[in-house]
């Protein structure tokens, strides 16, 4: 097991940032931890890296207790709020990082060039970091997380400072890293990003991990339909909630869960019979957004 956590709990006074978190990650997996702001995602990653101490519970990376130098030796980390030493050049920053990770001096240049190439910064490494754009700094921070070829990389909002092209590049990079056997632990608000890159997902809400599993498990159960109705009244919501079909709603648009295509006409007929005026029906597969909102509204 690459990463395992048993009943990790972190409290700040009366606030429980994480409660009884149990999860495991195997080699080659890309694990996406999804949850709203303040759910405890970053705290959990910080516990795994030894930056924050758990109040109770334990976790291990490759059998080593988290927080130990041995556990950190084989991990990389891209923080959400990354700030680099701006007086250094990109190259100097990576060389400093390589030395902290004990990359042999004779392999240093090769490792730096490889990670620069991976993040698309090769040729810009001699410039001072203070001259880099935010996106370039994020790429550089990512290069530092990659250069010692760790077994597990923690990426906390890895594309938060990137433009759409940069995001696509990082998605491609994640796919390449995964194919080379590196596991990733991804914290992201961008569900589309998680849907495209993750093999496994975990949903965290108010510090509690409410569901984990492979992405296929979450995307499999049924399809969805979008209905345009006249008005979303409390009565309509009550009716749909009692039927267990409602995934989400926004204004007069409802997203409902159906088991299969054949169920759609009967569901629409039932709603019409209940007095709901339907102006449009659109069939769609159940996206990660619906899954996410479904968990968060539970």
């Amino acid at each position: 097991m690459l990463l395992e956590a048993h009943q990790l709990t972190k409290t700040y006074g009366r606030i429980q940032a994480c409660t009884d978190i149990c999860l495991s990650l195997e080699e080659g997996q890309v694990f996406g931890l999804l949850g709203p702001n303040g759910a405890g995602k970053t705290t959990l990653v910080k516990i795994f890296l030894g930056l924050v101490y758990a109040s109770s519970g334990e976790a291990f990376i490759q059998g080593q207790p988290v927080g130990s130098c041995r556990a950190r030796k084989n991990t990389g980390y891209l923080p959400e709020l990354f700030r680099l030493y701006e007086w250094l050049s990109g190259f100097d920053y990576l060389r400093f990082s390589a030395r902290l990770y004990s990359v042999p001096v004779r392999k240093e240049r090769q490792a730096i060039d490889r990670s620069l190439e991976m993040v698309g910064l090769l040729g810009r490494e001699k410039e001072k970091i203070r001259g880099y754009s935010k996106g370039m700094q994020q790429r550089l921070a990512l290069a530092a997380a990659l250069l010692h070829q760790p077994a597990l990389i923690f990426l906390d909002e890895p594309t938060s400072a990137l433009d759409p092209v940069g995001r696509r590049d990082i998605r491609d990079l994640i796919a390449r890293l995964q194919s080379s056997g590196i596991s990733l632990f991804l914290n992201s608000h961008l569900l589309s990003e998680a849907e495209l890159t993750c093999t496994h997902l975990g949903f965290i809400k108010q510090g509690q991990l409410i569901a984990t599993g492979s992405i296929k498990e979450f995307m499999q159960p049924g399809q969805s339909i979008r209905l345009e109705i006249e008005e979303t009244t409390p009565e309509v919501l009550e009716l749909l909630n009692s039927s267990g079909k409602l995934i989400s709603y926004e204004g007069s648009t409802l997203t409902l869960q159906v088991e299969n295509r054949e169920e759609i006409p009967s569901l629409v007929a039932y709603l019409v019979q209940e007095g709901i005026r339907i102006y449009g029906v659109q069939e769609g597969s159940r996206g990660l957004e619906e899954v996410f909102i479904g968990f968060m509204q539970e």
Binding site: L49, G50, L51, C69, R70, R72, T75, P79, R83, L100
Partner: protein
């Protein structure tokens, strides 16, 4: 730890405040030297009638110069130490270090040693230059070996302030750490003055006040010990030593040196413990 020392030294060298500090230090030295030059150029100053007065003036100028140096050294140490950890915590750059396979102790010790090394060099050059300038203009009797040992003792002053502010920096904001450092330094200075004036006036209560403030922060004790070591040939209680509160009318006990080193060790230990156990 050596990479942290290297990184911190590089950071200090890249800071504009350091460049400004260096320029102002050179200005200080220039004005000090020019001042000494004009004193000894006064007409009739070399006559035998004035010899004693000039010698006294020379010692007082030397003490004044060294005392000004303590301000410069202290300010530099406080400014460096106050932000050493808290600034990294505030900006988030600490994650560049703490998430790597590196113990937190090595982060603290690496930073303290780097700042300490810079303070040591600065103190040696600054106080040594003041000593040599005054000695040159007034032909003061300073033994090189004693000067060297005295400069080491002078260096304890910024090291103490650095230890205090580094400790505060692991627990509080940069501003709070800086304010704490300056306030304690001010208390130690005023306590030192009261002690010296008390010794001149044979007032035991005033001397005790100085001893108590030295227990709180023994920077003044380090200063007096350094002056005493360098000018060891001048007897205690002489006019040179007791003419102003910058001299050594009241010499700290022999245990003061032990106390300073114990103070440093305990404070560093507390800093390591506090930083190792806190969430980042």
């Amino acid at each position: 730890m050596r990479y942290i020392i290297g990184l911190t030294c590089q950071e200090i060298i890249n800071k504009r405040i350091l460049h400004l500090g260096m320029v102002l230090t050179v200005l200080f030295m220039a004005f000090y030297g020019i001042g000494l030059h004009y004193i000894v150029q006064q007409p009739g100053v070399h006559s035998s009638a004035y010899l004693f007065v000039v010698q006294q003036a020379g010692y007082q100028m030397l003490f004044l110069g060294w005392f000004c140096c303590t301000f410069l050294m202290g300010t530099m140490a406080i400014l460096m130490g106050a932000g050493s950890i808290s600034r990294e915590l505030e900006t988030g750059t600490i994650l560049n270090l703490a998430s790597r396979p590196l113990s937190r102790n090595s982060i603290i010790l690496g930073k303290y040693l780097a700042y300490g090394l810079m303070s040591l060099i600065y103190t040696m050059v600054l106080t040594g230059s003041v000593g040599l300038l005054a000695s040159h203009f007034f032909h003061l009797h300073i033994v090189p070996a004693q000067l060297f040992w005295g400069l080491w003792l002078f260096s304890l002053l910024p090291l103490l302030l650095l230890a205090v502010t580094t400790y505060c920096s692991t627990a509080h904001s940069t501003l709070a750490a800086g304010v704490t450092g300056f306030m304690l330094f001010a208390v130690a200075i005023i306590g030192g003055f009261i002690e010296q004036i008390g010794a001149m006036m044979n007032n035991a209560a005033m001397v005790k006040i100085g001893v108590i403030t030295s227990l709180l922060l023994p920077t003044d004790a380090a200063y007096r010990l350094a002056v005493h070591h360098i000018l060891g040939s001048i007897p205690m209680g002489s006019a040179e030593m007791t003419m102003s509160p910058f001299g050594v009318a009241s010499l700290p006990s022999t245990w003061a040196e032990v106390y300073i080193f114990a103070y440093l060790a305990v404070l560093l230990l507390f800093t390591l413990l506090h930083f190792s156990n806190r969430d980042l």
